[in-house]
């Protein structure tokens, strides 16, 4: 059997398999509980507890934030560490050799992006501060409204990428260097781990913590949830930015 025939047979088999798979899944989906009913088995005592006790016990009005940054805070720490480890793996895979000269990196930079393009620069001059402010707003209000560290951090990273694409790598690297990335991310993760370790240790021993500090509904409330949200946002923004810069340009210059 020659190669074209084999390829066609493989494509036909794959298509048939996929159609059978989708059919089986759709058939099974008809047996699942219908969406949106309050009598479904997933509406049990667990979400009831999170919604009714979460805001009372933590001071965060957003029950999802109360859940992920208080009851399951170590899960979120694990997520942040997954991001950090992924960024480190990308670093290791894409590192440019130390002897590659600075000129080649600048040349690669200029080939792919319009540096000092007037339309882009002027547009982003207006857009970038608004994007940053929106990201900070979402991060800081994570315990009061929809949002939180992950979504706010992603928006901050989008602002950084806009800045990078409008003004080029040389301007961005005045403040975003690999040293800053490593230090800030490690510091944020360590602070997160220490803060949650402290709360769990004190709570397990029945000691008083500043867990519920502040009046619910204010920005400075819900105790540790706001600083933890900021830590997560820093890790997410830095990681997405560095992943982009590694895949696009092969690494930080500095």
């Amino acid at each position: 059997m020659n190669k074209e025939k084999r390829d066609r047979l493989y494509a036909i088999l794959c298509t048939c398999l996929t159609i059978v798979f989708i059919g089986v899944m759709l058939f099974m989906a008809t047996d699942l509980p219908h969406l949106g009913l309050a009598t479904n088995p997933d509406i049990n005592e667990v979400p009831e507890f999170y919604v009714e006790e979460g805001p009372e016990e933590t001071g965060a009005l957003n029950a999802v934030t109360a859940m992920i940054l208080h009851y399951r805070a170590f899960d979120t720490l694990g997520e942040s560490c997954v991001l950090f480890v992924a960024a480190i793996s990308v670093f290791i895979l894409l590192r440019i050799d130390g002897n590659a000269s600075n000129d080649t990196i600048v040349a690669i930079d200029r080939r792919y992006e319009p540096v000092n393009d007037p339309i882009l620069s002027k547009t982003f001059l207006i857009l970038v501060p608004a994007v940053f402010m929106f990201g900070i707003y979402i991060t800081m209000n994570g315990h009061l409204s929809p949002g939180g560290g992950f979504s706010g951090g992603a928006i901050l990273a989008a602002g950084l990428l806009l800045y990078l694409n409008a003004y080029g790598l040389a301007n961005t690297e005045r403040f975003m260097t690999s040293k800053l990335y490593r230090r800030v991310t490690a510091l944020a993760l360590c602070f997160y781990a220490a803060a949650k370790g402290y709360t769990f240790y004190m709570g397990a021993n029945g000691l008083e913590t500043f867990e519920k500090a502040g009046v619910p509904g204010r920005i400075l409330s819900a105790g540790l949830i706001l600083p933890l949200n900021v830590c997560v946002a820093i890790v997410v923004a830095m990681t997405i930015y560095s992943m982009y810069i590694m895949i696009r340009k092969g690494g930080f210059n500095k």
Binding site: A11, C14, T15, L17, T18, I19, F21, I22, M25, L26, A29, T30, L32, H34, L35, G36, L37, A38, N40, D42, I43, V46, P47, E48, Y50, V51, E52, G54, P55, E56, L61, N62, A63, V64, M67, I68, R72, D75, E79, V82, L83, V85, A86, A87, S89, V90, L93, L94, L144, S145, P146, F150, V215, P216, G217, I240, M243, M246, I247
Partner: protein, 130 residues
Amino acid sequence: MSYFFADLPEYTAMILFGIGLSILMLAKNLVKKIIGLNIMDTSVFLFLAAKGYVENTVAPIVTPEELGHIDSALYSNPVPAGLVLTGIVVSVSVTAVLLSLVVRLNEEFHTLDIDEIIHILRKRDREDLK
């Protein structure tokens, strides 16, 4: 049939999962394979997020006045939202690592076609044997 439109997100998620799987199996371009994997991820997020919805309820964010007498029947399920968050983070990390591997493969073989890469590797093996 009366529940068909209510359950539409579930069916859409199943079909999207199948589409992603077929792209993963059929596409020869490695970047397209990663896109297929992302479509599969997205279908799972859609399924989970749809499961968290309860009719005639709002997002689980209470007002300060309600503290002390919160009625959980007014709010939708917060647990799937947390699960989807974990899934999104893992999906982003996996995509980044896969893309960097693709960048390295492209530097080595100057192609993104998986068949061509295997072909080149086999040719190298044969030359090594001689």
